[in-house]
Subunit: 169 residues, 2 copies
């Protein structure tokens, strides 16, 4: 971090002094975490509406997308990649298996682990899923202004997520 992190106001100062002796109160609207939360909720709400007909939640989408892209990964690997605790992954995977979309295969080398794969029906489902997702994602890209703005946004979020990366060095 820069040298003045603790002493200086680098964010937008408040418009004026407010209540009794309180300096520089920011609008919630200018706060990074607040805006991120509101935007994420909006995008997820659009996602949920888009996928109501397929009865698919964001976490389930992400698991199916991961399995489709890299079949055979271990349960714990997919959970870790998505930031899901392995204990919470069990019910998620149970549901996908019960719907006949994916299955667990006992590992040959390590018989503790489960390799995850799509079923044939799961593959068909993922095709429909990706069509719905395309529409949803394009709607979000349109709101942003276009693919360039999407790339810009992803890049900024990557900076937040990768504290080690110092892209200008």
């Amino acid at each position: 971090m820069t040298a003045d992190s603790n002493t200086t106001t680098r964010h937008a100062p408040a418009t004026e002094a407010t209540a009794a002796g309180l300096p520089a109160l920011p609008q919630m609207d200018s706060i990074i975490g607040y805006k991120l939360r509101r935007a994420q909720l909006l995008v997820f709400q659009d996602f949920l509406q888009s996928f109501a007909k397929l009865n698919l939640r964001p976490a389930e989408f992400s698991v199916l997308a991961m399995i489709a892209r890299t079949p055979g990964l271990k349960q714990s690997e997919i959970a870790a990649a998505l930031g899901i605790k392995r204990a919470n992954f069990v019910a998620l995977m149970d549901a996908l298996e019960k719907r006949g979309l994916a299955d667990r295969r006992k590992g040959d080398i390590d018989r503790r682990s489960h390799a995850l794969h799509l079923t044939p029906e799961g593959t068909r489902f993922v095709r429909k899923m990706m069509a719905v997702w395309n529409t949803h994602e394009n709607r979000m890209i349109d709101r942003l202004g276009g693919p360039a703005e999407r790339d810009l946004l992803i890049g900024l979020l990557d900076r937040l997520l990768a504290p080690d990366a110092t892209p200008d060095a």
Copy 2:
């Protein structure tokens, strides 16, 4: 939305065809909603660590900041501004009142409503709160690369949040 939203892939195409007959699977890393969620979780986690000593949650922070900035607003007005259901706002406000930071005053004109104010102790608390927040927010701004990138990010998120706004028209 643009004309091709439903038919064309405007987002980054997948690197290669993957599992049996599945075209163009995106990396989770390139998906707007996924990145937004991961970034929001990271920022909130930093917030929670920063405010552990003050024992303050993001929702409580936002309520205190709103009251400090605009004292006298009705409970329902603050709840609505923050996207909190008024039923869920009650316990939140109860906690702040029990800690002696804010209080509800019966409205003179409409005796159903409660006008929210900081207590003197609440005002002192908010001063400490803003100092902690400054450090937290500056850390996030540093990760982004600086105040310009912060403004850029806020602007992009505003585009997502304001579907009506067409800034280039």
